[in-house]
Symmetry: C2
Subunit: 490 residues, 2 copies
């Protein structure tokens, strides 16, 4: 893996100079071509031995291409504020939009590399981190983010010589960072840490390339060549597609929507009393110091049109402090959303401890409306079950209580509610031609919902199927589930 | 001010019920009309005596209008992460987009109200806060954000009675918050604090209305009526317009661009040595613990096309840690930018301590390209000088070192660089028909730049006029000014 780089090969400056003009022009054209198509992001992950010229390489990319369309993402140790969120939250939030090039410094490899460079590395930690990274990169790459990873490397002697040369003059001495000086003593460990990371995360969808870094012309040439090849690749490889397309479709899906007791109802007087009491318990639980310290709440509301999602959400929020929650109504993605992987817009609303995020429709649109209406290719929505489970598991790992509600009504009740809405001057905004159109595809939506329930009902983020023909019953059930889930955890 | 509210007037439920249908329908239509025109934001600031039904009022707005287009902004005590920024940063960041309604809870009035409710309030603090608020609201309102402020109020007896009624049943007792219970003892002080805030900040552009809150039907009716009147107002009042339009235009502006020594240059060898030394000083200064604790750096680069902004910026960033800085290239605003006051997009890039924000073009576009090309009305760009000075003063108040550079070239040098760019295969992306068009308006841009220099060269955020016919000279000058400014402050 490191043989070539540790031989410290070099390139005559003359040869480099002769190729520079053509290479720069080609890179710039390839960059503009990416920009004009805007069909993907190119993410360049920069890693390697300290003091091997990584910074120089980034400067080169910015000097040779149009820097207005290059986005440098440099991550330091997470701040206390960032540590309140799942570890990958900050990477998702900073994700470069399609058409642009992102250069990632201090990436998601840092924890793995640090651990692997210790005297007695924790093997379990390394495997766990590697698995997380593989999932992150697979999700990104399957969703329009092309990933290229560069490891800058040279021999221990060359690293030491380079550092000493910089130190010998006051004009360049400041370029040497404290960690550069530690490399000679720790070279073996740092090298093996790199090897451990590369071996565990080198995938067709996100390949590693080792760049010999001792000689500046060669380092520049290789960097530029790798970038050019990546920019010219027509589309990011999507290995997940073939895998997802195979099998599974024949498996019989349980008709959970058909098993709901649609007759369930509650008396009006009982409702008022019970509602107040449940809201009181919810208010107390969400005001508790324990909740504010260790937990957040993620509530997902899905269901047929006119199933009563809005009314159920309001009964929840009336019990909450307005400073504590955020409702995210989810409709068709805007241009910013479309310029990123579909989970990006939801990552931005992930709550920190003590906060409550309510989604009125959600990321499940991917496997419901996008599937039924054909907005997502079969390989995309099939892959989404796993991506969604992984996303929710990351939230739960960080202490989020994730609850998902499907409010279920029957066709006749929906029809009655549609008609009522049409005739009410202050409810008719709630009904659109889309609603009538979706209604015609009732069975397709039911099939998609049943498959979603089968594939994403996980212990970390369970689905609650709520009978909603009676609105009062549904509202109490939703509150009961939430109260029960929080009280159990506190 | 509070006479009516403290008489605790009421409204028969029957009368309210008769008007409800018409009011709800009218509100909903007015909301959709705002949404379809998207010419402004309606911001509703909610304040008042604790336990006076403010939360109920917000629930009413969400129930009566389409909640998908209402944005509740609820601010708590600033978190440690938020405290690193100027106090108004979080309000700017959360600002509701045009076409939507924002409801603001725990607003910018909290510090003033808290101080005014103390036993011995600090009068200076109150005046200072009031002045800041007036400026914020004037800027917002002049830039498309209509502000309506509601103070919910009732007599001390009614507040006490309402709290006791809620406490008397377990279904409602949880609605009582700890601060509600403190009101009876502190009523006079809370009342006077409200009076102090209202008297100092009641402006035509952002008026206060006191809502009698003891009786629910009346509270609901008044809330709905105020909202409806606000939504129906054709355009937010813009008092700053008339004021800014008067006078000033006859004042002679100093021709600072004409005073630059365009012959200044530096020898290539001297340049290389000096560059390394200055970069070293910059690297050391920005790595210092003092800088990371107390200061940030805001660098603004403006100048004629082809004056060498990009090259100067690169010489600065090469000395910096990639995790420490962000370059924001500013071009035409996108649709999100246009849906907010023009300063909004820049507030989002304000740095926290230890960070460096570099603007390649900036908010000065308002008084340069937008003025010259007529994208902004004269009243808008004239008012902008004051708004910009206020913005930069807020950054400086929080420890930011704000430096602004105008890179000045002569017409002949610009022409030579344009031609060179056209003939270079990897530089021709830098030249567009716009550049040639702008060149024809050289004198208009020079006049705008001179006026900008005259009106926004403040001690808190000085302009540095840099002779840039010789690129090396300009780069060294930029670095020298930055190094000098930081070293002086550390």
């Amino acid at each position: 893996m490191f043989e070539e780089a540790e031989a410290d090969p070099s390139l005559a400056k003359k040869i480099f100079d002769r190729r520079e003009l053509r290479l720069r022009t080609a890179l710039l054209n390839a960059q503009y071509s990416l920009l004009s198509r805007a069909d993907r992001t190119l993410l360049v992950v920069i890693a390697g031995i300290a003091g091997s010229g990584k910074g120089d390489a980034v400067n080169l990319m910015n000097a040779w291409m149009d820097p207005r369309h290059i986005h440098t993402l440099a991550f330091d140790t997470p701040s206390p504020a960032q540590s309140q969120y799942p570890p990958f939250w900050r990477y998702w939030n900073a994700l470069t939009a399609k058409g642009r090039i992102g250069i990632v410094f201090g990436s998601w490899y840092v924890p793995l590399l640090k651990e692997a460079a210790r005297k007695r590395p924790d093997a379990d930690f390394i495997e766990r981190e590697a698995e997380r990274i593989r999932r992150l990169e697979a999700t990104l790459s399957a969703n329009g983010v092309q990933i290229v990873k560069l490891w800058y490397h040279m021999s221990a002697q060359a690293q030491c010589a380079r550092t000493q040369a910089l130190l010998s003059s006051p004009e360049t001495a400041w370029k040497v960072m404290p960690e550069d000086l530690k490399v000679p003593k720790q070279f073996e460990r740092l090298r093996n840490a790199g090897l451990a990371a590369i071996e565990r995360t080198d995938m067709p969808a996100a390949p590693w390339t080792v760049v010999p870094a001792a000689d500046t012309p060669l380092r520049h040439l290789r960097t530029a060549q790798i970038l050019l090849a990546a920019l010219r690749r027509q589309q990011a490889p999507r290995p997940a597609r073939a895998q997802a397309a195979a099998g599974k479709s024949t498996r019989r899906i349980r008709d959970r929507l058909g098993e709901v007791d649609y007759e369930a109802l509650v008396d009006k007087n009982d409702y008022e009393i019970e509602l107040g009491l449940l809201q009181g318990r919810l208010a107390r639980a969400t005001r508790s110091p324990r909740f504010h310290k260790d937990h957040s709440l993620v509530l997902v509301f899905e269901g047929q049109d006119a199933a009563g999602k809005g009314g159920a959400i309001r009964r929840v929020t009336h019990a909450l402090d307005a400073r504590q929650f955020e409702i995210t109504p989810v409709s068709a993605p805007n241009s910013d959303d479309l310029a990123h992987p579909y989970l990006w817009r939801f990552w931005r609303h992930v709550p920190r401890p003590g906060r409550i995020a309510i989604f009125d429709r959600s990321w499940y649109g991917r496997v419901l409306v996008e599937r039924v209406e054909g907005y997502a290719a079969p390989s995309d929505w099939r892959r989404a079950y796993g991506e969604i489970n992984d996303f929710e598991a990351q939230l739960a790992d960080k202490g989020a209580i994730v609850l998902k509600f499907w409010l279920a009504v029957t066709q006749d009740v929906q029809l009655a509610r549609f008609k009522e809405r049409e005739h009410s001057p202050f409810k008719n905004f709630k009904i659109t031609p889309d609603d009538w159109r979706n209604r015609k595809r009732w069975n397709d939506y039911a099939r998609a919902a049943n498959e979603m329930l089968a594939r994403t009902d996980t212990p970390a983020a369970p689905w609650n199927l709520i009978s909603a023909n009676d609105k009062r019953y549904a509202r109490l059930q939703v509150l009961r589930q939430i109260v029960h889930a929080i009280e159990t955890r506190l």
